[in-house]
Subunit: 306 residues, 2 copies
């Protein structure tokens, strides 16, 4: 499908792409670059890249697909470095969780005759690094592409086909709209989870071991989210600032209304609110975007049980 | 272990207890009562109770263990009703998520010669009702007992043994401290998850189908939490008001500090905060209270993968 793919960054997403491309025979050769020498060595040892390059510029030479899989804040510097070495006709994409900021940082460095199609696979786990990838990460997950107006439709179609061949469902949308949607479905929830875990850690009247031992479902789920890569998430909030602050403002407003209902003992308000939110869960399960197994399947009912 | 157990309420916890007691041969006879006739019929159909009683008062006659498994706000009325019918020497316990309010509501109605040992199994799923129970729900989970001073140690020990026989680890603590710990590890996280899901539902610029389709890990996890039983959670917040408002205050304070860091572009503050919260996750996994499988095992790495 692509003769030579260059992966810039060798973390969870890049290594999962490599495993998936290998499994599907989707790339002739996979060349990898990561800033950390250890990551390059691990990638070679696991064998999901054919060759490690010493620099990003070296990695992209002769590649017909270049994937930028570094934290969002590092994209601009990488683009500046690789720009002059990109092969005419090549496609450059990225996998950043924020799209407008990446486009602003990368597009100016893409030379005439090279196609830039920004993208975002909505898939991941709380683990990071070259050992965390696996071929099925993108199965049944959405991969959003945000090509700028005037992008060669053939380049976009070819990239879309690659994503689909790795198991993903692909949609195209405007970068700004992408950033707002993700602020709701991912960025703000992550910030809130980080905050709640930090509060627990700070609370001197409750010991750490109590927080850990008696972590019920709510908090356990938050700690998983709050174990995600700190650099990646720092960059997400810095680069999707306006949408995140917008959604955070709405969140605080609603939280204060519920807090007031608790203070005033307004049970009807609470009950009505908690009933409404059940419907969204049903929608997510019906759309095949999560399991209906209790507790994500962590608690194992006997076979035949629900 | 107990000759006759009366379950008042036949939801997730009661039905799981019944399945676990059956599996372990821990109860001679299990009598059940629920306000809803349908729940009683389902319990009999599934067969996790031997007999359904028409009233709570009838259910407790001759029972040497009575388990109050109704929403916290309904405990007082049930205790008033069953008080005169409790067998001398019987033990009454409950499974409510809040302890001080339950003790205040129930203890005055427990006659001389009957033992009241309040309790809370820290286990559950987002499902509710008599069909949602399963025997292994309590495996390796904590069951906190909060007996009042002066409670017969033999009654507490017998109940502790039952909980352990259902697979739980048991700890005893003061009711007020329990309520603070749970406000941190469960109640406040639930309120926050409900709020975030409500915000997403309200946002007109992002369609419901987008929220559902593109729900990334953060939000998907929140929707699971926010699908829990509305009545149970309404009562938790109304009865653990002070501790919840206390933790919510700290949460908002921290959230505002992070929000300010985003607005000012203070990446160092964000990175340091996000790094610190990773340690708590490691603690929970090391304590055996959660799985280290990526994404709770929802995403399936190939065998041999991490």
């Amino acid at each position: 499908m692509y003769g030579r793919v260059a992966l810039i960054g060798l973390g969870l997403i890049a290594s999962s792409m490599a495993h998936a491309m290998r499994a599907g025979g989707l790339a002739g050769e996979i060349v990898g670059y990561a800033k950390s020498e250890e990551s390059r060595a691990v990638a070679l040892e696991i064998g999901f890249i054919d060759r490690a390059a010493a620099t990003a510029a070296e990695a992209v030479v002769g590649a017909d697909l270049v994937v930028l899989a570094v934290p969002v804040g590092a994209m601009g510097a990488i683009a500046t470095e690789i720009g002059p070495h990109l092969m005419p006709g090549a496609t450059v994409t990225d996998v950043g969780s924020v799209k407008q900021a990446v486009i602003d940082a990368v597009a100016p460095h893409i030379p005439e005759g090279v196609h830039f199609v920004a993208g975002h696979p909505i898939a991941g786990t709380e683990h990071s690094g070259p050992r965390s990838g696996f071929a099925t990460l993108f199965q049944n997950r959405w991969w959003l592409l945000t090509p700028a107006e005037g992008t060669d439709p053939a380049a976009t179609a070819r990239l879309r086909h690659l994503c689909e061949s790795m198991g993903a469902k692909v949609d195209e949308m405007d970068a700004a709209h992408h950033d707002l949607v993700l602020a709701v479905t991912s960025h703000t929830p992550h910030l809130i989870a980080y905050t709640m875990v930090g509060v627990a850690d700070d609370l001197r009247r409750v010991t750490d071991s109590e927080v850990i031992q008696y972590s019920a479902a709510g908090f356990r789920d938050f700690t998983r989210i709050a174990a995600s890569d700190p650099t990646m998430w720092r960059d997400v909030f810095l680069t999707n600032r306006d949408a995140t602050l917008d959604i955070l403002g709405r969140f605080t407003e609603e939280l204060f209304a519920l807090q007031r209902a608790i203070r005033l003992g307004d049970g009807d308000h609470l009950h009505a609110y908690f009933t409404r939110t059940r419907a969204i869960r049903r929608g997510i399960i019906e759309a095949g975007q999560d399991t209906s197994a209790p507790d994500f399947g962590r608690a194992q009912p006997p076979s035949g049980g629900r």
